[in-house]
Symmetry: C2
Subunit: 179 residues, 2 copies
């Protein structure tokens, strides 16, 4: 009788475990169904939660007619809010979201985000990325998030463009003033 009870208990535990596995499968299914975003040729992977990162600044470029918003992960936000951005601390990640300029349908002097162009990332790791100013660069293009660059050498292109900002830790972005 004791053995039988144990068997029932085991069966119950099994059911609970099975239910937990099934629940877990249901909860993770939508993510599993999403097409995976390929890594950048230098091995940097797309941070999964960048859409939830907080604001650092914005910009609008008249040379290529784009609007930009710069977000940061928690480490970057802490650095930006305490003025510790030269250098940025290891672990900081900056994300620049870029859209083509569009014109607001009811305010013709207002430039608004049109077609999405790309998301660019700068990952601070002063040891790992010593050859490119302590920053790992990565970019995913378009709504289908295609990684930019044929091979890892693409980062030299990014770094070259950031060289004028050497005295600002190679970062163009200045955190926007906020009360």
């Amino acid at each position: 009788m004791r053995k039988r009870n144990l068997k029932i208990l085991r069966t119950k535990q099994g059911c609970v475990a099975l239910a937990a596995i099934l629940m877990s499968a249901v909860v993770t299914a939508p993510h599993a169904a999403e097409p995976a975003v390929a890594a950048s040729p230098n091995g940097i992977t797309l941070p999964s939660d960048y859409r939830n990162w907080r604001l650092i600044a914005s910009s609008q470029r008249n040379d290529n007619n784009t609007l930009r918003v710069i977000l940061g992960n928690d480490t970057a936000i802490k650095a930006a809010r305490t003025g510790n951005t030269n250098p940025w601390p290891d672990g900081a990640i900056l994300c620049k979201l870029v859209w083509k300029d569009a014109i607001h349908e009811h305010w013709e002097t207002a430039v608004i985000p049109g077609e999405f162009v790309h998301a660019e990332f700068m990952v601070k790791n002063s040891g790992k990325y010593r050859e490119t100013g302590g920053w790992g660069f990565a970019r995913w293009t378009g709504m289908d998030q295609r990684p930019y660059g044929k091979d890892a050498a693409f980062a030299q292109e990014c770094f070259g463009c950031h060289t004028p900002m050497k005295n600002n830790d190679y970062v163009f972005t200045h955190p926007a003033k906020l009360p």
Copy 2:
């Protein structure tokens, strides 16, 4: 002896309680020391955590040379990401942060946030703010966050300007496309 022990216990409890109060005072002191931001003349108070809200869109206005970033509270973000913004749900709050245009020192065709101008809010409550399209308006100006408007009638000025957007629930902002 039992009475004495009880007294010691009471004293210990008192010490613990006092310590808890002191700890609480230390933890809350930085906030308490900040100057309080006055409410808008229509009674809307400044949301304390708007700097941590997530991104909805950005814009740049050539008529008054300002850069803008539009953030939303959790209710607004959920609505924006699921395409439920016409109308926006009750509880949604939109925050528009505005800076004067400045020019980047190493990229002269890049407009970046200069002096902070103001933070504007639209609070959706279709019952409470029925007379202004279901939206409560509020604005705090400058780094010292002075509430805008002499009296509650200032909201008519805001609402008047938003009238062309009646078919978009009186909101100029279109959530920016993101992958």
